[in-house]
């Protein structure tokens, strides 16, 4: 409440640490990431190498891109549960259309399909005012169903993945994954776009106080349609990259990435209640989850136990982080 500048002397040290971390939320995330890598190195000395780093980054990229879908929608107190399905659709479509009509057409059709889902989401959330959770869950199911129907139609076609996508998904340049050629510009656009464009401002505004945004002349349905369209296009592009990486299109290609993408955004400090979040945090969140996955694989635990541990760690990290950065 008091805005006096000389309040430092009375504040207990823990609160001051909390306040510092609250102002610099990236620090605890980077510390956690470093700690996980440290544990990994202790458990299996020598594992941490440039090659390992490249691999980790390679697998973190699609996760970080889907986390962008979650982070952007969460800024407006929404979520995009159709993101992973849209990625799957895009990946499957590109692999089945390309052999018949060429790579360009394949990519175009894949992104069109993604955009269609995004438009429906945006219309549902922005105009019909359906809760985003329900809306995107529903379109995700519908898209999955459509994909199954589509698969029956193209069952004889066979599939082939455009060379360009394989190069992007699996190739390396100077030891680093080629996916970075896509991801670095992408991340730059998101990071700068949130800070320095009117659209970015409106996402934060809608999530902080939709009434205030309306009062200032924002027609929120326009923002929601653009937002969910953008989210679906990001998911579609992720699908293209992912199918190039996995090289085996299937009906559940990217689906397992859904919950980790939500987790990456939340661990990265995005509030599901809207108005607060950063993409830098979500990127580190994706790296943390990827390293954590490696760690748990090395433990050679049964799959069930691994998942339990994974979930528990996500909960603990998120709870601690939120506690640290919001205790004001």
């Amino acid at each position: 409440m008091s805005s006096a500048p000389d309040t430092q002397d009375h504040t207990p040290p823990l609160v001051r640490v909390g306040r510092f971390l609250g102002d610099n939320p990236m620090i605890p995330l980077l510390v956690l990431l470093a700690a996980l890598i440290g544990v990994l190195e202790i458990m299996r000395p020598g594992i941490v190498s440039p090659f390992w780093a490249g691999n980790t980054i390679k697998f973190a990229i699609p996760l970080a891109m889907l986390a962008a879908c979650q982070m952007l929608t969460m800024l407006t107190a929404g979520i995009d549960l159709s993101a992973a399905v849209v990625a799957t659709v895009a990946g499957f479509v590109v692999a089945t259309v390309s052999p018949l009509h060429g790579d360009g057409a394949g990519i175009a059709v894949a992104l069109l399909a993604a955009a269609a889902v995004g438009l429906v989401n945006g219309f549902g959330v922005g105009v019909a005012r359906v809760h985003p959770l329900i809306m995107t869950l529903g379109t995700g199911l519908i898209a999955t169903g459509c994909l199954q129907v589509y698969q029956r139609l193209v069952i004889a076609t066979g599939s082939d993945i455009p060379d360009m996508l394989e190069w992007l998904g699996t190739g390396r340049t100077a030891g680093l994954p080629n996916g970075l050629f896509l991801f670095v510009p992408f991340a730059a656009i998101i990071l700068l776009g949130l800070r320095f464009t009117g659209f970015g401002r409106l996402l934060f505004a809608l999530g902080s106080n939709e009434h205030a945004a309306k009062l200032s002349g924002t027609r929120s349905w326009q923002v929601y349609i653009a937002l969910y369209l953008l989210s679906a296009l990001i998911a579609g592009i992720t699908g293209l990259l992912y199918v190039g990486m996995i090289r085996a299109p299937s009906l559940s290609l990217a689906n397992p990435l859904l919950l980790p993408s939500v987790a990456a955004a939340v661990i990265g400090g995005t509030s599901i209640f809207g108005g607060r979040g950063s993409y830098a945090g979500a990127i580190v969140g994706a790296l943390i989850l990827t390293v954590l996955g490696t760690l748990l694989t090395l433990l050679q635990m049964p799959e069930g136990a691994r998942r339990i541990l994974f979930g528990a760690i996500i909960l603990a990290v998120t709870a601690l982080y939120v506690r640290f950065t919001e205790s004001r």
């Binding site: 805005s3 106080n209 205030a212 309306k214 009062l215 002349g217 607060r276």
Partner: protein, 497 residues
């Protein structure tokens, strides 16, 4: 008549005090109600009326003083206990649960059905269906049900808080009749209303609160209205406070806003006025007379249900605040929480309208923004850096941010809804000259205020709204508090509704 220790007193509250932090809402409030009496409780905005009601009904505990019901210290730790001890309130907003049926709501409060049915009948609501869901019924009916439920529980003291506001006239008459009959049968009634016509028709006495204390206890007789208004205002006569208004030039030409017979059901029924460029027009109204709806219509948050609005001579009907903004009407709401992004910077808050339209969704014009924001901050003397989060500002500075937002975009018509509510005196004194300066630069300002003494400080003229309609138009030179208060209570001329 005013004997507070009367053995017949059903309710006797005396010396009640209550503070909220440093704010002393009540210092010495008293009220007694005898059997067979209807007592009006009156007070201007901020007199402490609602705090007193909350204490009487057990929603708040007093710091000092006591509330006796039938001579017993009322254990009013909660509304349920107050109800059990014999005091039953009925508010403007019916306290019925929307997703339950009428019968289920009655069961919640253990209300016997037969007397309820009889009262509903008396109050003139035909074909009562106990199985109807509350949210499917019209508001007027619910008010009646709420009253009937209170009556059916056979209370010693009935407290009616503004429950006739926006009720149709025939229902009001029946309510008054039934309440009077109830009192005649030996109950006591506390009646809170802004309407002198109802009070003189129904009440035996009027108790007047001002600045947290009871300042008068009057019998209702011919001419009591003037006495009540005097008591509500107190002896705060400080003349020569007007900052010498640059007198508005002849109000000719096309008005910026021309409002005719504007209505927004149910509260706003018939409001007309002109607002010219270069003018500050005050709006004076007691709480809930339709001013909220008026501002909602003008700012695009709700559509009018009748009447016309012209902006610079063109008829308009706004479907969204963006439409209003496009025509130059910008709105500063009374509740700052509705207008601010608490966790974002002052700069983002002020610059918010810049990004609203699709063509401005692209890269921000940072230099332009910085200049405009800096200009607004300087103009308003906001104590902050532009990077600071808005929630860390004081209330006064927050209010300046909501106004600054429109200064930064350039003001044509500013709709200010109670901009000085709950802010410190120093900030208030900065806001009046600012409003005057806007007018001097050919902006038009509509200025609703709940504090009457502000009208001559900031406005050229004032329109008074009572019961949803304009009842008076008063020039600033005549707008002393007494005149305004009388007009606000509908007493101005030959008895407006």
């Amino acid at each position: 008549m005013t004997d507070q220790t009367d053995a017949r007193a059903l309710l006797d509250a005396s010396g009640v005090a209550k503070s909220f932090g440093a704010v002393r809402a009540l210092t010495d409030a008293s009220l007694s109600v005898n059997a067979g009496e209807v007592v009006a409780l009156m007070g201007a905005n901020g007199a402490g009326k609602s705090t007193f009601v909350k204490i009487l009904t057990g929603a708040l505990r007093p710091d000092r003083g006591r509330v006796l019901i039938r001579g017993q210290e009322a254990r009013v730790g909660s509304p349920a206990e107050a109800r059990a001890s014999g005091l039953v309130p009925v508010y403007q907003e019916p306290s019925l649960i929307p997703d339950l049926t009428v019968a289920e709501n009655l069961r919640l409060t253990d209300t016997p059905v037969d007397p309820f049915r009889a009262y509903v009948d008396d109050l003139g609501i035909a074909n009562l269906r106990l199985g109807a869901l509350i949210h499917s019924l019209p508001l007027a009916t619910l008010r009646i049900f709420d009253l009937a439920r209170a009556l059916a529980s056979d209370p010693d003291v009935l407290l009616l808080d503004e429950m006739t506001a926006a009720l149709p006239t025939d229902l009001v008459e029946r309510v008054l009749k039934v309440v009077r009959a109830r009192a005649d049968a030996g109950s006591g009634v506390i009646y809170i209303s802004h309407r002198f016509t109802e009070i003189s028709a129904l009440c035996d006495r009027a108790v007047v609160l001002r600045d947290g204390r009871t300042v008068g206890d009057l019998a209702i007789e011919e001419g009591v209205e003037d006495r009540v208004v005097e008591l509500m205002l107190g002896a705060r006569i400080d003349l020569g406070r007007r900052a010498g208004l640059a007198h508005a030039e002849a109000r000719t030409g096309t008005p910026r806003l021309k409002v005719r017979n504007l209505a927004a059901a149910p509260k706003l029924t018939d409001v007309s006025f002109d607002l010219h460029p270069g003018e500050v027009l005050g709006v004076v109204a007691l709480e809930g007379q339709g001013q909220d709806e008026l501002f909602d219509v003008l700012s695009g948050f709700r559509r009018a249900t009748g009447g016309t609005l012209e902006v610079d001579g063109t008829p308009e009907s706004f479907g969204h605040p963006a439409d209003a903004i496009a025509r130059g009407l910008t709105f500063v709401p009374g509740d700052r929480a509705h207008a601010l992004l608490a966790e974002r910077s002052v700069r983002e808050n002020i610059a918010l309208p810049f990004a609203a339209r699709i063509r401005n969704w692209g890269p921000l014009k940072l230099r332009h923004e910085r200049d405009r924001v800096a200009h607004a901050i300087e103009k308003l003397q906001i104590d902050t850096r532009a990077q600071g989060e808005v929630r860390r500002l004081s209330g006064g500075n927050q209010q300046k941010v909501t106004i600054g937002r429109w200064l930064a975009t350039g003001v044509e018509t500013l709709l200010l809804f109670d901009p000085t509510r709950g802010i410190d005196v120093r900030t208030k004194r900065q806001i009046y000259p600012l409003v005057r300066e806007l007018a001097a630069n050919r902006s038009a300002v509509l200025f609703y205020t709940s504090e009457l003494e502000e009208v001559p400080l900031a406005c050229d003229r004032a329109v008074v709204i009572f019961n949803g309609r304009t009842v008076a138009e008063i020039d600033a030179s005549e707008a002393d508090e007494q005149t305004l208060m009388r007009a606000a209570y509908g007493l101005a001329e030959e008895g407006a509704a």
